[in-house]
Amino acid sequence: MTRLPAIVWRQLGGVRLTVVVLLLLVVDCAMGYWSLRGNNTVFAPLNDVGLFPWARTYGMNDLIHTAWFFTLLALLFILAINTFVCATDRVIALFKSRSRFTRPGRFALKFAPHIMHYAVIVILTGYLSSYLFSDVYPSQTLAPGTAITVPGTRVRLEFLSFDYQYYEGKRLEFFEDRVLSPEARLKLSNGVTERTAAISLNRPVRYEGYGVFMKNFAPKKRGRKNISRPYVEVSIRKDPGVSFYFTGMALFSLGLVMYAYQWLFVKAHGEERQ
């Protein structure tokens, strides 16, 4: 019985488990592709309500289309454990053999792939924490001159003005008269200080730990009859996963640079002869 933890540890870190999980992931994602088609309405609220409330409502309500997603979570969980165990085994082995390295720099470069593996786990943890712990205030609609206050805080957003450019080209008739690059100017305040900022699609604003994202806007076309009054629809979210993403990406980049350096300069010059 005393050997059981060691056996489990070895099994969890095995490359065969990696291969099996990756193959299962391919099959599962293929099923996800078919399940997602035409069923966006089931999955879109996941961004707003969080993982567990979503699982208890949308997820369980339509298991035929969501089973692949629960399987995906389980497979990613196993893959994360497998990656952690595998990388940790290699790191321990590397530390044990550190006496073989004469130059500390060369020894450090050997950690490059393991740093990248740990980075992937950090990024996955970030996604999980986003879906578990985010505060989301979806679909807040603002007209020019109106304001909203984030519930439970003194954070206030006032919609000052809306700037946009029309497509002026001639080549894409489909885009004729369409609004391109919509930009809303907001006044952000917390009761003590205030500042103005511009948000647009794909360019959110960060303020007091909250991200403000433009989801929708109007008008979308140059004025003709039936044109909508101007408004922007924003989603406000406090997402603890963001710091994990950035940390993970920074770690991955570091590992990649170290790996590339080792590959280009150390191995290429045949200097690594331990």
């Binding site: 099996v20 999980v21 309405t41 707003d48 629960f70 109106t146 929708n216 039936n226």
Partner: protein, 382 residues
């Protein structure tokens, strides 16, 4: 397996972990509740949802993804909701922008009691209940939906506004009138179209009426499926129109596309996905026009759809599509858009148009088949 014992063990580990996870998820759903309670606790209708938190609180998610808390009258608002999210039920007075919302109120049997404002003028209404209400002054025309007179709206003192116009939300928030966005970013599928009244029902505490309507329409769909199951050749159908600068069609995910497929026919915009009345390129429209047998246009006779020749005159590009050359073109009658409460009849009529051989001597009530030329023009020619 004996050659690869590790793979067998690993698959076993994966299976065990998967089973544990599945058990966890099922446990999260709450095994202590009965099946009936579980079914009632959450209902998804396209983008809309109804979630029963407890007997005194229902959460509704509207077409814009906004959460509304439905609570009985004379009760304290629950924690965690802003004032504009609170709707006291049963709602006693409503302003409705859309025809389909007015039809839904009729299905629920509350139209005459609660409707106090609309955005269609009196002379354009075909529903007797609305005409009576407007004649008596109970229901008021609030101006065009893009230029609503909010002062008049406020005077009508509605407890709820049903609107597709997102830009009205800030103004209604200022007036402290809760609103429901009844349009969705993606076109309603057939199931959502049939169940939409079940989304509105909790606002008026009329769930039995909504359920009865859904069952009635479900029955009509089942009859359509059975009746057209052995129909002959599959007609190819397109639903849309070319306007001055835009080409608008019903996408394949819309209830129209789904119904056409269900009635043993081919919908030629099956690959188009998105909102109702979605804009596509003229080339894509004409490409389908080469194959189509039947065209359903959005235009009514009032907007120029009096004959195939008249439509071709409105836009010469349309003259190239096969239904105008040797197929059939159908236009909605003016009261069609206000007939959502007769959805079962509309679905049956569309099936009868697609497969007249399955519905002999069927009398059209919501659509008309366009002649080749206008009657007056035909007289002149003769």
């Amino acid at each position: 397996m004996s050659k690869h014992p590790h793979i067998g063990r690993l698959l076993f580990v994966a299976a065990v972990l998967g089973a544990v996870f599945a058990i966890n998820v099922i446990t999260l759903n709450g095994c202590d509740r009965t099946q009936a309670e579980k079914e009632q606790s959450f209902l998804q209708i396209g983008d809309f949802t109804i979630k029963r938190i407890n007997p005194d609180l229902v959460e509704a998610r509207d077409g814009a993804g906004r959460i509304l808390a439905l609570i009985p009258r004379n009760t304290e608002p629950p924690q965690g909701y802003t004032p504009d999210q609170i709707v006291r039920v049963p709602v006693r007075s409503v302003v409705a922008y859309g025809n389909f919302d007015v039809s839904a109120l009729r299905v629920l049997g509350v139209l005459e009691d609660v409707l106090v404002g609309v955005t269609t003028p009196a002379e354009q209404w075909y529903l007797d209940d609305v005409k009576r209400g407007m004649a008596s002054g109970k229901i008021v025309y609030l101006g065009d939906s893009r230029a609503v007179d909010f002062e008049r709206l406020k005077r009508q003192n509605p407890e709820l506004v049903l609107t597709w116009d997102h830009s009205a939300i800030p103004m209604l928030n200022q007036l402290k009138i809760p609103c429901v966005i009844t349009s969705t970013p993606v076109a309603m599928c057939l199931n959502a179209r049939m169940r939409y009244v079940q989304f509105l029902a909790p606002f008026f505490q009329r769930e039995p009426e909504a359920e009865a309507f859904f069952l009635k329409v479900s029955d009509s769909v089942r009859v359509i499926r059975d009746r057209t199951a052995n129909a002959g050749a599959k007609p190819k159908v397109m639903w849309g129109d070319i306007y001055e600068k835009r080409v608008l069609v019903e996408p394949g995910n819309a209830w129209v596309g789904e119904l056409v497929g269900l009635a043993q026919s081919d919908y030629l915009f099956e690959d188009v996905y998105g909102t109702s009345c979605i804009e596509i390129s003229v080339e894509r429209f004409l490409h389908s026009g080469d194959d189509a047998d039947i065209l359903f246009t959005y235009r009514t006779a009032d907007s120029g759809a009096t004959s195939k020749a008249a439509i071709a005159r409105l836009n010469p590009l349309l003259a190239k599509v096969k239904p105008l050359i040797d197929g059939k073109v159908y236009a909605p009658l003016p009261h069609y858009v206000q007939s959502g409460h007769r959805l079962d009849e509309i679905l049956t009529e569309i099936a009868a148009i697609l497969h007249p051989e399955c519905y002999p001597n069927f009398e059209l009530r919501f659509f008309e088949e366009l002649p080749d030329v206008d009657p007056a023009q035909k007289k002149e020619q003769s």
